[in-house]
């Protein structure tokens, strides 16, 4: 501190920060942090694979006529949903809560990054990991499980994109009821459970009884899962896809509004 080097002209233009530089910087820092947090790394990297193996072994014995689709296809569809839930939703809730409690979010808000950039930057690594795992799942399903390649990759990609946006938003919303990183396991459970059973992750939706299936159709992840399913199987009708798209858009708008209304950038004192 003896020789402060602040003598350069204060007007020096330098490189301006842009959305790209900010997202890169924030995403890179977040990825570094993810690599250093054993719990989050486990949830993000290993847990999805574990769940897929569980899913596969539990579906193996189930008759194809009960499922409506082959056990392998059910594994791949459920596995995709599992990856998205565990990586994008659950790990993002705990990392975002950690940043809030460490006052990182508040500090970032004093800088040039906008609020959406701060959230998007923090969600980038989880999103990238989820996409890589989905890619592994697709290739692995094709080469190891003998599944067909996705029939409609375009619908699969749309489903993934919608799911990531929606889940990142729901994750941000969930942090408002998550006081500490430790409690994230509990606060993320409701969405995890209703999605697992109601949105066609563990149990294909066709296997649900009539009324339950109708209600399940309204759940937040049901729309994007419909796209994922259609992407893998290529069996969708325009009508069900339209319903699914409407469901997703409605949930996304609702979530966006709720995040703007309730999201907290600093710890409750």
């Amino acid at each position: 501190m003896s020789t402060p080097q602040t003598t350069s002209a204060p007007t020096a233009a330098g490189r301006p920060s842009t959305t790209l530089t900010r997202l890169t910087a924030l995403g890179r820092a977040e990825l570094t942090l993810l690599g250093r947090n054993r719990n989050n790394l486990f949830i993000a990297a290993l847990m999805p694979l574990l769940m897929i193996f569980l899913l596969r072994s539990s579906l193996k014995g189930v008759d194809e006529s009960t499922l409506g689709i082959s056990p392998t296809a059910a594994t791949l569809i459920g596995g995709t949903g599992m990856v998205l839930l565990l990586v994008v939703y659950m790990s993002f809730v705990s990392s975002l809560t950690a940043r809030r409690e460490e006052l990182v979010l508040k500090r970032l808000r004093t800088g040039e990054a906008t609020d959406p950039e701060i959230l998007a930057g923090a969600a980038l690594p989880a999103t990238a990991i989820a996409l890589v795992q989905c890619a592994i799942l697709t290739v692995g399903g094709f080469t190891l499980l003998g599944a067909d390649a996705p029939a409609r990759p375009d619908l699969l990609v749309l489903g993934l994109a919608g799911a990531i946006v929606l889940l990142a938003g729901l994750a941000a919303l969930t942090t408002t009821i998550t006081r500490t990183v430790e409690s994230a396991g509990l606060t993320t459970l409701p969405l995890f459970l209703i999605s697992s059973f109601g949105s066609g992750l563990f149990v294909p939706r066709d296997a649900l009884p009539g009324t339950a299936a109708d209600v399940a159709q309204l759940l937040p992840l049901s729309g994007v899962m419909e796209f994922v399913r259609a992407g893998w199987l290529g069996t969708a009708h325009a009508g069900s896809l339209l319903t699914a798209a409407l469901n997703t858009v409605a949930w996304a708008v609702l979530t966006g509004w709720a995040v703007r209304r309730w999201f907290r950038w600093e710890p409750r004192r």
Partner: protein, 316 residues
Amino acid sequence: MTAEALNPAIEATDLRRSYDGGFEAVRGISLSVPRGEIFALLGTNGAGKTSTVELLEGLAAPTAGTARVLGHDPYRERSAVRPRIGVMLQEGGFPSDLTVAETVRMWAGCTSGARPAGEALASVGLTGREKVRIKQLSGGERRRLDLALALLGRPEVLFLDEPTTGLDAEGRRDTWELVRELRAQGTTVLLTTHYLEEAESLADRLAIMHKGRIVLSGTPAEVTAAQPARIRFALPAGVPAARLPLGLKAAEEGGRIEIRTHALQDDLTALLGWAREQDVRLDGLDARSASLEEAFLDIASRTEDAPAGHKETVTR
């Protein structure tokens, strides 16, 4: 000079801020800081300093009133203001698992015209600490890193919320030196502090806040001059305070006498002359000019325990 350069760097008009519970932390603050000035906001804990600064930084919208920084609304026109200001919050806010270098790199990506990391760290004496994790830094080192990041974009206006809290004496002096150099380069600085010495030695002007309002403001000399000097001593047993010379306003508390005066030299002469004449020994005699501390304590006590309690004013 352009029209913008003539505007004050920071301006607040009747700023108010209420929290959800209804508590009004800021109750009508008006202030104006010209370019290149160091302005200090003083106050007891809970006086509303941080709540005020957060409004000026654009972290929250005021409940009423207006804030202007470099001619813009810091909350609504965030993107116009942020590239030109630097902010150091009262409490850090860096991920504990990142290293110093990684933190600077993250911040640089979010800062227009960021200085090189090495230069920024050198300016706060953190050279050689690049590979250390934030959680392993001492409290003082974290404060200095925070300052380095606030300065990363060569801001025109700098907000420092208690910049030297947690620093040792040397670190504090170094920070003061740095702030003075920034002023020499034309940077406007608004700082909050509860170290009176800091405000007295750094600030061109200061304001003392109490319960959400500014109760006293001016240059340190003006604020001090408004306060009385103080003489303190103990009278020996058997000499009642009532025997003190005429004209001295004294307060007695448990045998200790306190005289407040705007004519220190005259009153001290009178007191000492009287003591010699009466052969009275004044134990623990202590005479001091008015200080910012006096002003500060006066304000803190003024509204808190308005009835002077056990103090008894003796006037003769």
